[in-house]
């Protein structure tokens, strides 16, 4: 672990303290000269002794080293982390030192203290521990402020002692079961999404002539009998000489992996309402969905759409899960005139005819963009945290508010109906209910939506 040290401006209080003593000394000296009174010089001596002692015992620079350790550098929201800070004094004796570990914004103290007043002799080590809890995000804990001073506090000196320490707080990932999606195009590898190709699988696809090598269990005997000729009625063993048996085999939908692009809406205009933000809920939902899709072997990409586009290209596996979670940990709400609408979503980012999952509270203007995506043969699923229920829960109840809510509800229903007519599956999520409950009830089985969304 690397250490570095750089000076920090002395605090102004130190100047005022030494300044006060010096002023007092000169005042008495001046008065003794003006009034030619030697007794006044006697009053100077105690002040002078204090000042000289402070100057003599002032701590020398350097020699203080710090090492910070975390019980874990990767956390989830709400998970505590223990920070252990070790300070070693390789310099001169420190009579009084104030140690303050600077906690970055986004982390909050649970127990212990990041601030201590200590006395360290040469070669002594002081260790202190405290526990933190973090909000989602990446935090760099780089500095520890040390203020050393002489015993009288006349010549304090402050330093920032830095040591590398990064904490990343990931959003919560809820375990979701199977999520039923059916994009038009799948990839070559075996997975869990029914492709439009016959082969081995679970769901019935069609029938074809029996081919050598087909296992007996795939023979469709009923269809075979219907297609065969010369079968005697009654006792089959009686006469089988003229039988022309034509075997028919069942075909099943092949199950393959697919491309899934998750778009997280980070626009302030759609997420910020009644002084509160729905964004954290959207982030948690995106993380859970990404995790579920990746666990099923799909190729998943993530686009955080806010002040700018944060694009994580599609890939498979645990490494991609890590990339997506890191991107979600850094995701912030933002406003930008360029990305005020969803028209900044480029179809080049997502493979043709793949699945797009948009996590957004939705605004009316998003309708045209989503329909455009649908027209490019993407299978679009919208998971929409309900902004009306969320805002309503944060406002004071009144008759006017109820009327406004009803009107807004009608407007939103109209938007969702228009989207569903275009073949876009919209799941409304009242954020007061658990996310996994909503997903399990609506996404465990595939539900065709509208004429364009139906897969024959």
């Amino acid at each position: 672990m690397s250490y570095y040290q750089y000076p920090f401006p002395s605090c102004p209080d130190s100047v005022s303290r030494t300044f006060l003593l010096t002023c007092s000394i000169y005042l008495l000296l001046f008065a003794s000269l003006v009034f030619l009174n030697a007794d006044l010089l006697g009053l100077v001596l105690p002040i002078l002794v204090f000042l000289l002692y402070g100057w003599w015992s002032a701590p020398k620079d350097g020699g203080l080293y710090v090492r910070r350790r975390f019980s874990s550098e990767r956390l989830t929201v709400g998970e505590p982390v223990e920070v252990s800070v070790s300070i070693i004094n390789n310099g001169s004796h420190l009579n009084e030192a104030l140690i303050e570990d600077l906690i970055p914004v986004g982390l909050s103290l649970i127990s212990g203290s990041p601030r201590h007043v200590i006395s360290l002799v040469t070669g002594e080590e002081f260790i202190f521990r405290y526990r933190l809890r973090g909000n989602r995000g990446a935090c760099a804990m780089g500095s520890l402020k040390v203020t050393t001073t002489d015993p009288l506090g006349l010549f304090p000196r402050s330093y920032l002692l830095g040591t590398a320490g990064n904490l990343i707080v990931f959003p919560r990932v809820l375990p979701l079961g199977r999520i039923a999606i059916r994009p038009r195009r799948t990839r070559l590898y075996a997975g869990s999404i029914p492709a439009r190709v016959g082969g081995t699988g679970l769901e019935f696809f069609g029938v074809r002539d029996f081919q050598p090598g087909d296992p007996p269990r795939v023979i469709n005997w009923r269809a075979s009998v219907r297609r065969s000729s010369g079968l005697p009625e009654g006792n089959l063993a009686a006469n089988t000489r003229n039988v022309n048996l034509k075997l028919i085999s069942n075909q099943y939908l092949q199950e393959r992996v697919a491309d899934v692009g998750i778009v997280l809406d980070g626009r302030e205009l759609s997420n910020w309402m009644a002084g509160e933000s729905l964004f954290e809920k959207s982030v948690m939902a995106s993380a859970s969905l990404a995790d579920a899709f990746l666990k099923l072997g799909n190729r998943v990409g993530l686009l955080v759409y806010g002040q700018y586009l944060d694009w994580t290209p599609p890939a498979y596996g645990k490494l991609q899960r890590e990339r997506i979670l890191q991107s979600l940990a850094r995701a912030r709400l933002g406003s930008s005139s360029v990305f005020a609408g969803l028209d900044g979503i480029s179809t080049r980012m997502f493979p043709a005819e793949s699945q797009i999952v948009l996590v957004s509270p939705l605004v009316n203007e998003d309708w045209s963009i989503l329909v455009r995506l649908r027209s490019h043969a993407y299978q679009v699923l919208v998971l929409s945290p309900d902004p009306l229920a969320f805002e309503y829960s944060h406002l004071r109840r009144s008759a006017e508010l109820d009327v406004a809510l009803r009107m807004a509800r009608l407007e939103r229903k109209l938007l969702i109906r228009k989207l569903e007519r275009a073949g876009i599956h919209v799941i409304e999520w009242d954020v007061s209910k658990p996310f996994e409950q909503v997903v399990q009830s609506q996404l465990m089985r595939y539900r065709p939506v509208g004429s364009q969304g139906y897969i024959p």
Binding site: V117, I118, L152
Partner: protein, 164 residues
């Protein structure tokens, strides 16, 4: 422990000033000194950070004036010393409030008070010497003191400019 020492030294400072002025025949100033001590105690109770510095400076001015008007210098010296200790303890108490309860507060307090006591004794001894031994200062010494004072005033002006 620090608080007890702090209160004691504020009381001793005010008492030394009051006794000195009273013995020199200034009862009203003596009462004023006691009122000053009470105000300092209230400021310490209210944890007014700036009050200790003002009180120290006021004590130094009062002690200087006292010496000039004929108050016995021993009392004025004692008042200055007690004010210095109280001023330092105010800062130390403030510093201890920043500490965590598991820190070695008792050890810090003990070492600080011991160091302060030794320092006060040294200062008292050194200050008593000129009261006992009276030296005749020559003109050259007065010139040197004037030069040192001029340099000091220039330094103060420079500090003020820098602080602005």
């Amino acid at each position: 422990m620090t608080v007890i020492f702090l209160i004691t030294h504020i009381v001793l400072d005010a008492a030394a000033l009051a006794w000195g002025y009273r013995s020199a025949g200034f009862p009203s100033v003596s009462l004023g000194s006691l009122a000053f001590g009470a105000l300092w105690l209230i400021a310490a109770w209210r944890k007014l950070r700036w009050a200790a510095s003002i009180a120290l400076f006021a004590t130094v001015v009062a002690a200087g004036l006292g010496v000039l008007v004929g108050v016995p210098p021993g009392w004025m010296l004692a008042a200055t010393l007690f004010a210095l200790i109280a001023w330092d303890l105010t800062r130390f108490r403030e510093r201890l409030t920043l500490a965590y309860f598991e820190d070695d507060l008792a050890g810090l307090e003990r070492r600080h008070l011991l160091r302060l006591s030794v320092l006060a004794m040294t200062a008292l001894l050194l200050s008593s010497i000129p009261m006992v031994i009276t030296l005749k200062i020559s003109f050259e010494w007065i010139l040197l003191l004037a030069l040192v004072s001029a340099i000091g005033i220039a330094q103060i002006v420079r500090w003020i400019k820098l602080s602005k």
